[in-house]
Subunit: 392 residues, 2 copies
């Protein structure tokens, strides 16, 4: 997740004086713990805690729930009820709330932190009950399907009988799709934004380079860093790279072009000296890298980005068509014209494929220059696009 | 219970046991040393040695020379006379030689290693005469114009009165363009392949992330590593990233898609364990990273990539048009449809701009899926494109 970016630079002080990593507990975050989960790639993991937030009320029929699924570095905090008009207060804030598309007056809106995350749910920074220390890289490989299966446990726990909608973008879109395929009888509507049946080789390449950057940082310590003392440099570089994939050449050109650094100068991840000046795009990327390194766990980054690579909706089915035929609800696919992480053509292809196997589906493409990030930025376009599912 | 899965760390053998970096001396490489060069960004550097190779013979009129200019990690070895049919024996081998487009029977073909490089020319790995030790990061910022000015010294030394052509791709294309603007009276024809007037914000972003990866490697030692013991991990990661920008989503999809690793497994730059298997694209990138780390100097990578970022053909002129108006020779610009490092639209835009100020110019776009790399790969298309300059 990106996009909520204020171009306010903070002077970065040296590594020693860095505040420890803080995963700020979100407002009213609740947790649900269950014994264990069978994992898609084998073995089981437990106990598992899932952190979640809810807004609105579950109806007597327990059928008015909406599940929102977050992206790579997101959290359960899709909405901030105390600041409904601040688009930066929560990741889908402009879309969630009373009278908004995800209408908390009518729906019981739920968002949970993914399995493998670092905002309250069980992940590599959680304590391994066998050792009393954080899992680190002893955490098992988890997949998008595992994340969805964990969410399913939560949904059951909350007494939800039927989901009016599951919606998410990017890795959240992969989860939404997986919901519609894994639990077709539960999902009446699904919205998949900027996600496809499986990522491209190029997306895997970007993710793997980001992971290598994290693991190359001597502070990574094979994943056994102390909480708050992780590989900040490597994670910053990983984030800088990810930012390229979230934007587009067009958007970067509009915003940064070849301008020299415009604002207060941020220290680079390596504290390296400048040579030949500094471009604004560089300063921006340093800022973004630093920000993530102070709010996110590096091992979670490794695991969740890997889940993104590994996701293939057809896995475990005889064919992609057999998987997609399972979808019972109405499906809305939203691509972004300038997205190069999840190219619009692939989102559209998936929608066409669902339709070809008899699905009740619509595809809409956001005409935005903002690349993948559009799903966290183009509020007016998203609102218009989302309304289409009501007309399916 | 934790899932049962393979997680064997390979012991990371330290930099000590890696073979020393080998910059293999090219066949018949000659050198020319001159006292000093005034640098575009201030100060002077000297003495300067330029490594070069030549093929064919200079005519009595000294006007049949062709200068080929290489890309980021290239060298003077544009042609291998002993293996004229091996496209991998030299970087433009299929285009250079008797009867080829750059016809060594008719032309005196010259290629030199750039200033800042590590294949015989003065660069950050050269001995600083003031200290008796390698320059490292005490090497000054050098620009594309400085590289061209150093080449000009070589051209004068070789007795060349007029260049029949200057041609190069990528950073080599920037040099070719700069030749036509800086020394218009010398250049009768110029061929700029996959290069533009100045790189995009996105290209700067990619380059800076690559540089941060290099500088984040503890073996970098602020640039003061011993020869052969440089930041191999960081340089490998940098190369992996660069490989994405040299290819295209389309080409990667055709070649790798989501296939598992097909061939002998290469160790990753960080010697990290796999989790969730290995994709072929990952294995390929590890291989490419490792290969570069064993043949190229990390500090040269920093300096030359920075020269690429800093290049703006208009620098020092009242306007871009004033700069481009200086071009006297015929100019051929070649873009690649799928190039996202130097987008074809920007190459075309530059060609149009040259034409609009009265230049004798043609633009041709290679319809290749291979991205930026097409200039080192699409021999038939390149040959056809190059012939266009004869019809100007």
């Amino acid at each position: 997740m990106v996009a909520h970016y204020e171009y306010r630079y903070q002077a970065k002080v040296g590594a020693d004086t860095r505040p420890a990593l803080k995963i700020v507990p979100q407002n009213k975050v609740q947790t649900y713990t269950f014994a264990a989960l069978q994992l898609q790639r084998g073995g089981q993991l437990g106990p598992i805690t899932i952190a979640y937030e809810t807004w609105g009320h579950l109806s007597a029929a327990a059928d008015n729930a909406i599940l929102l699924t977050h992206a790579l570095t997101g959290s359960s905090h899709a909405h901030e009820a105390s600041a409904p008009d601040d688009p930066k207060a929560a990741w889908w804030n402009p879309l969630v709330g009373p009278g908004k598309f995800f209408d908390t007056d009518r729906y019981f809106v739920v968002c949970s932190n993914v399995l493998g995350g670092c905002s309250g749910s069980t992940g590599p920074s959680s304590i391994n009950p066998l050792t009393g220390r954080p899992y680190g890289m002893r955490f098992p490989v988890v997949t998008i399907r595992d994340m969805v299966n964990a969410q399913y446990q939560l949904v059951q726990h909350l007494g939800i009988r039927s989901l009016a909608m599951v919606a998410g973008g990017s890795i959240g879109g992969q989860q939404a799709l997986e919901w519609a395929v894994s639990y077709p009888e539960m999902v009446r509507n699904v919205v998949v934004v900027a996600a496809s049946a499986a990522v491209t080789a190029q997306a895997i390449a970007f993710n793997e380079i980001a992971r290598q950057s994290i693991m190359a940082d001597p502070d990574w310590l094979c994943g056994d860093y102390a909480t708050g003392h992780g590989p900040a440099t490597g994670l910053s570089i990983a984030r800088m790279l990810a930012m390229i994939t979230y934007q587009s050449e067009e958007a970067m050109e509009m915003r940064f072009s070849r301008n020299p650094a415009q604002r207060e100068v941020v220290t680079s991840p390596t504290f390296s000296p400048e040579f030949g000046g500094r471009f604004d795009i560089e300063n921006y990327l340093y800022y973004q890298g630093d920000k993530l390194a102070h709010r996110f766990d590096a091992n979670s980054y490794l695991y969740i980005s890997r889940a993104m690579d590994l996701y293939d909706v057809s896995e475990g089915y005889p064919s992609l068509d057999v998987a997609l035929q399972r979808i019972q609800g109405k499906a809305l696919f939203i691509g972004v014209r300038s997205d190069f992480l999840f190219p619009a053509a692939q989102v559209r292809w998936l929608a066409d494929r669902v339709q070809s196997v008899g699905g009740d589906v619509r595809y809409v493409e956001l005409d935005s220059p903002h690349g993948h990030d559009a799903f966290l930025k183009e509020w007016a376009l998203l609102n218009d696009a989302l309304r289409l599912i009501e007309h399916l």
